[in-house]
Symmetry: C2
Subunit: 378 residues, 2 copies
């Protein structure tokens, strides 16, 4: 089936209505919707409205609290700790990053750790908030247990992403937004659907050995039978898998050990009789004021020059382009603002179902970009 | 030939004498010697006294300035920029990290960027300085151009390492100290000597294609013929090579673009007639006060629990141990403090040659640990 193309604004408004209906405040509904739709605009479909169901379910069961008691637990001029009160991850993360930026503007750098939170969407969203303040932004989160440590049989860590955003002048900002696993689980699902063998280095089987069989890994996840995603660098130490494992551990230390959130395989705990409890995820946000080190104009000119040197450097045989991190996503955003966001028909059907269950207006297809896109094609 | 075993203390004293003879101040000589010997103690032989010749040559030719004008260029409560005056990388880095820690103790977090510097030794040394202050430490540096960007033919970036050190309670501190390339150049030299094919994913040939031929890559480095070390994640994007490239770029942005040092392939510049100029490397140091977020005892207890959960988790088939980052190096340090530091006979010969050229006392073999080691073996 063909994708349905929708515009970002009505898609965001639809998500807002859904969150409002579930008791979320106006501000928090807007933030959460904006983070989701930004993922779709940037082409990170796995973290966009395709996940709306997950938040709806969380809010309905109360695992995610619609009106949480969000609290600043501790604060110094450059640091703070926030307890999210088991609310949605996005709004508390937005405010934590705002606080980190405010601290950076005041004393040069600011860092805020968050505990007792939930899935926060794309890491890059928060890091990029620093850009308009001429700050460098940092965002990290721990996540559901999917990654095996080097030499381990079982998944013990999340895909724990790191995002760093730095402003530039005429060139686009540098936006690194990477999971510390080689690939996300979604990549395995694609290979499984296509019946394609995976490259060795993506995941391990229930014995903890690298496998090409994506279906087996996904089944093992279901059954908690062992194995999981491999850290960046793959199996063992030969290609640096211990480095990816180390990066994931770094993220867990900053997000969870420093904040008092759940770490390693303690995230998403359950009651003894198997009922889910609040996830208790942790995040970490940072901002550095560029002119805490060097005049902004000098920094931006050097960022431009660095990017151009890389982009204009000779290409490997068979390659046509050297990318700067964030470049592909900025281009995708421009395209999707112009042509609409492609929704997988299954995702569109799920949004319609959510609308009907919650009795909120579903007008996305009315606002569909298909006509515009077809005329572009013609 | 068998290695010669020497003790850390006389080895450090020897290096100090060498630096003093070349005009370096007492404090700077001690710091530089300590950083070198710490590398040898931790088992990172490539960054230990095996590199003494490089610093000796740098100081003799004046590319490294023995008595630099080190200057704090700009400062805020949480940030600072230091110009190293083209001095040795180690002393300015030591003082920059001290400053970052002082700032962390005052306002919660502190960051110092350094420009116009030289090779600073092991990244982990400076990150670990934070530990005794119950701070988390960060250390990064850019470096000589050896790594290709994803889809690029030529080396454009250094192996740009990242080090993070976090204290623990009864367990050892977490010390991640990793180059952002899959492997360092030294690993290629070992494979070349053994005539062994490299794993694909370590390096590319002059066309920019992954190769098993270590000798060819090393020869291409000499001739500047193209190719180089691959970023963590290997060739292209299939196994995440763009992530390792992104990490290396992050390090270059923080160390060089933010400080005003040379970035990408601009490091180690030369005059139009090919004479080397000061390297103008950049570094970045950071410290976060643990209790800027959470009481230290709670943090340390969680660090211990995190480590134990990982270490006691089930192992992959054929594996016997899951490591925490820094653990191998702590064990190696204990062993080398007990049994002595093994010096490759070529390295020992080079140290003797340096002693004779500079007319400083060489007493290492007098202090050799061989006897102690032999009795341990017996």
């Amino acid at each position: 089936m063909e994708a349905i193309y929708v515009w970002a604004d009505p898609l965001r408004a639809f998500c807002e209505r859904v969150f409002r209906k579930l008791g979320v405040s106006e501000e928090d509904a807007w933030i959460t919707a904006d983070v989701l739709v930004m993922a779709d605009l940037r082409g990170i479909d796995s973290h966009g409205v395709a996940r709306l169901r997950r938040y709806v379910d969380g809010l309905r069961t109360g695992i995610m609290v619609a009106r949480p008691q969000e609290q600043v637990i501790h604060e110094t001029p450059a640091t703070a700790l926030i307890d999210a009160g088991a609310g949605l991850g996005q709004p508390v993360s937005y405010r934590a990053m705002q606080m980190a930026i405010r601290k950076a503007l005041e004393v040069g750098a600011g860092f805020v750790a968050v505990r007792n939170s939930n899935h926060y969407g794309i890491a890059g969203y928060y890091a990029m908030m620093a850009l308009e303040h001429d700050c460098i932004g940092l965002s990290m989160t721990n996540a559901d247990v999917l990654m095996v440590p080097t030499f381990g049989r079982n998944a013990m860590l999340g895909t724990n992403p790191i995002a760093v955003a730095a402003p530039a002048g005429e060139e686009r900002p540098f936006v690194l937004d990477m999971a510390t696993s080689t690939v996300p689980r979604g990549k395995l699902e694609v290979y499984h659907r296509l019946g394609k063998p995976m490259p060795l280095g993506w995941a391990t089987d229930e014995r903890g050995i690298a496998t090409e069989d994506a279906g087996r890994v996904l089944e093992n996840f279901q059954k908690r039978a062992g194995g999981g995603l491999l850290p960046l660098g793959g199996e063992g130490e030969l290609l640096g898998g211990h480095k990816g494992y180390g990066l994931a551990l770094w993220v867990d230390v900053f997000c969870a050990v420093l904040s008092g959130a759940a770490y390693a395989d303690r995230v998403y705990p359950k009651t003894p009789d198997g009922k889910p409890l609040p996830a208790n995820l942790g995040h970490f946000f940072g901002a550095w004021r560029v002119d805490g080190f060097r005049p902004v104009e000098e920094f931006k000119a050097a960022m431009d020059d660095l990017q151009r040197r890389l982009k204009h450097a000779p290409k490997a045989e068979g390659a046509t382009r050297i990318y700067i991190h964030g470049e592909k996503e900025y281009e995708e955003t421009e395209r999707r603002l112009r042509e609409g966001i492609p929704l997988n028909p299954k995702v569109a059907a799920d949004l319609r179902a959510i609308a009907s269950e919650l009795e909120v207006e579903y007008d996305l297809e009315e606002w569909s970009a298909t006509a515009g896109r077809q005329s572009l094609k013609a």
